[in-house]
């Protein structure tokens, strides 16, 4: 896939990092402000998609990226399931229990397992959406050959 013009590339260089940071901010403050794992994950995926569209990338690199992202996604989802099951397997014997200490409402580190869920769901969503995009592009390249 070919990249775009130099203007787009320069602008993307400036913006992509900021979008990425904003996504991380939304995920980290998911239990305090609007947003959370889903919103932040999709924002991060948007940053990746922007970079791919602007700079382009050759076919083999895309396939490699796709494989790596699939691994990230599987691992993130299995961690989400594990966090949920941890209460069942270890202490309280209850599936999806919020077993960590809750802390003070309004602190960044509070609300027990919720920030962990936010982080891993965010990773999973970002990876999933990026894979969907990548596989569409890879298919287009492949089928035109």
């Amino acid at each position: 896939m070919e990249g775009m013009t130099i203007i787009v590339k320069k602008t993307t260089q400036l913006i992509a990092g900021m979008i990425f940071m904003y996504g991380i901010y939304v995920i980290a403050h998911g239990h305090l402000t609007p947003g959370g794992g889903f919103a932040g994950g999709v924002i991060i995926a948007g940053a990746f998609i922007l970079i791919t569209l602007a700079f382009g990338s050759d076919f083999f690199k895309l396939v490699k990226e796709e494989m790596g992202t699939t691994m990230v996604e599987s691992i993130a989802t299995i961690i989400v399931v594990l966090i949920g099951s941890a209460g069942f397997l270890l202490g309280t014997k209850i599936f999806f229990n919020n077993y960590l200490p809750k802390g003070i409402v309004g602190d960044l580190v509070s609300a027990g397992t919720l920030p962990l869920y936010n982080i891993f769901v965010g990773m999973e969503v970002a990876a999933s959406i990026f894979i969907i995009f990548l596989s569409l592009i890879i298919f287009k390249e492949e089928s035109l050959k």
Binding site: M71, S74, I75, I78, K93, I94, F96
Partner: protein, 512 residues
């Protein structure tokens, strides 16, 4: 709280992700691990079935206790009826997984196949064991999305087209269901099935009630392919790989369609006579039209798919008769008999239709065609397939020593005692036409030797496929035992009692 209940969902999910991660590096990990997982699920589901009795087991996910008797968390619920359906799902799933070990070798990317298969099992288990409306929707989506992708697994023209059709109709069904859930939330402000029942008790507007019931019935009816909504089923079920056809026809339309309809109409809504008559009519229509569409088919898998519509019609018909009697408040023991017939036929259909699709897959595997006219004389070269398919054909057409006979007999007896003579007569006629259709299948596929010399030599399929087919045919024979009163009291009666007496369901969930 039964601690085994979340395992029905978590184990197959864990299997999916392990297959996606480990299966990349270790060859053959996928097939054996899937089979092992499903074997484990079969064992725990049967242990649940034998222990459940008349109880209603509630698992409060997250440990949230009700406040003022109003449930606030998500509840997983297992009772006699859902235990039966879970057993069917996992047993057929296990046999299909064994069958796929040889069958799927001709496709690429086996990892994706097994991962999606596990997701489908997890989704169906989640739907059946859920006591919360929105939770049912979420797990329904897991199972139908994996079904969409598995239908298109061959990525040829037919598969993609069937998958597209299935996706469009399936999405419309999903939105209808979601709208229905929204309506129910609007009225009752709750999502727990037992709690909704409590809220409806206090009184409701008649037109509102009818509208919601229609939304829910058309949504789940689309998923179950009841008559006016059946357009997707023959395409999807005949285009999928054969193990998946067996899964879709044998289990899927029951777990996400018929099961949910029965559960919601008996345990959530208060049964009204107009709705009961509608369900009976739709059941009769599917029963009759399905079989007439089936009789002209020459493609085996399409023929079997149309018979699925017809057999599901039997289930809906007997459930409908039970609902009519309950809503009128007369002859409760006949209503119990009709519901027993419906559930019994649901179990039987899973066994024999699964077996028939596996047979069709075996034939396709060997001679590479699904057209009945191009077959013939396979009885000599494929003895196991021929014998098992004979058992299944006799079962589905209701010939005495096999299981199908008893369930159809119960349905017909119930219809006659409830004085629905026309429906009983139709059921008998449809059964005879089914017999004719399957005699045609047997003759053209296995006995007629007209053009045997034209095609390459056929030989018997590999052992894993034979194993699955023989086990399922034994299951077909064993299921006749459910007609014996002692066995029936142990297995079917708890399920019927739960459906007949909704108070039992809701009081055990809310009262805890």
């Amino acid at each position: 709280m039964n601690p085994l209940m979340p395992l029905f969902v978590v184990t197959p999910l864990a299997a999916t992700f392990l297959i996606m991660i480990v299966g990349r590096f270790v060859k053959d990990f996928n097939k054996y691990y899937t089979s092992l997982t499903l074997l484990f699920l079969v064992i725990i589901s049967f242990s649940c079935l034998f222990n459940i009795g008349e109880n209603v087991d509630v698992y409060k996910v997250g440990g949230w206790q009700p406040i003022n008797k109003i449930p606030i968390g998500i509840y997983m619920v297992m009772d006699g009826f859902s235990a039966i359906v879970v057993c069917i799902i996992n047993l057929i799933g296990f046999l299909v997984a064994i069958y796929s070990i040889s069958y799927i070798k001709r496709y690429t990317s086996e990892n994706y196949f097994y991962a999606l298969f596990c997701l489908m099992i997890a989704g169906m288990n989640g739907v059946v064991l859920s006591g919360d409306l929105f939770n049912i929707f979420v797990f329904l989506e897991i199972s139908v999305i994996s079904a969409y992708s598995l239908v298109a697994f061959g990525v040829e023209k037919n598969e993609l087209e069937a998958s597209f059709k299935y996706q469009v109709l399936g999405s419309i069904a999903s939105f209808l269901i979601l709208f229905g859930i929204g309506f129910i939330y609007w009225k009752t402000k709750t999502l727990n099935i037992a709690d909704i029942r409590e809220a409806f008790k206090t009184g409701y507007d008649k037109s509102f009630y009818l509208f919601v019931q229609l939304l829910i019935l058309s949504g789940f009816g689309l998923k179950a392919a009841i008559m006016p909504f059946h357009a997707w089923l023959p395409d999807a079920h005949s285009s999928a790989p054969s193990p998946i056809s067996a899964m879709l026809s044998g289990v899927f339309i029951k777990a996400v369609g018929i099961y949910v309809i029965i559960r919601l109409f008996f345990n959530m809504f208060v049964i009204t006579e107009s709705m009961a008559i509608l369900i009976t009519t739709l059941g009769t229509l599917s029963m009759v039209i399905g079989v007439f569409l089936a009789i002209g088919q020459w493609d085996i898998k399409r023929l079997l798919a149309y018979h699925s519509i017809s057999q599901m019609g039997y289930v809906m018909l007997s459930i409908g008769i039970g609902m009519i009697l309950i809503s009128r408040g007369v002859k409760q023991e006949v209503a119990a008999l009709a519901i027993a017939g419906g559930i019994f036929h649901l179990i039987n259909h899973a066994a024999f239709k699964g077996l028939l699709f596996l047979n069709a897959g075996a034939i396709e595997y060997t001679i590479g065609t699904r057209n009945l006219k191009e077959m013939g004389g396979l009885a000599k070269s494929m003895p196991a397939t021929s014998a098992t398919s004979f058992v299944a054909s006799m079962s589905i057409s209701g010939i005495p020593p096999f299981n199908g006979f008893f369930s159809k007999l119960i349905i017909i007896v119930a219809a006659i005692t409830a004085k629905f003579y026309l429906l009983a007569a139709l059921a008998v006629i449809v059964s005879i036409i089914t017999l004719a259709s399957f005699l045609k299948f047997q003759r053209y596929a296995f006995y007629d030797k007209s053009d045997e010399d034209k095609r390459p030599e056929a030989k018997e399929v590999p052992y894993p496929m034979i194993f699955s087919m023989i086990v399922l045919s034994i299951v077909c024979l064993l299921l006749s035992l459910l007609a014996v009163p002692v066995v029936r009291d142990a297995v079917l009666t708890p399920a019927i009692n739960i459906l007949m007496d909704p108070l039992k369901y809701s009081s055990q969930i809310i009262g805890l």
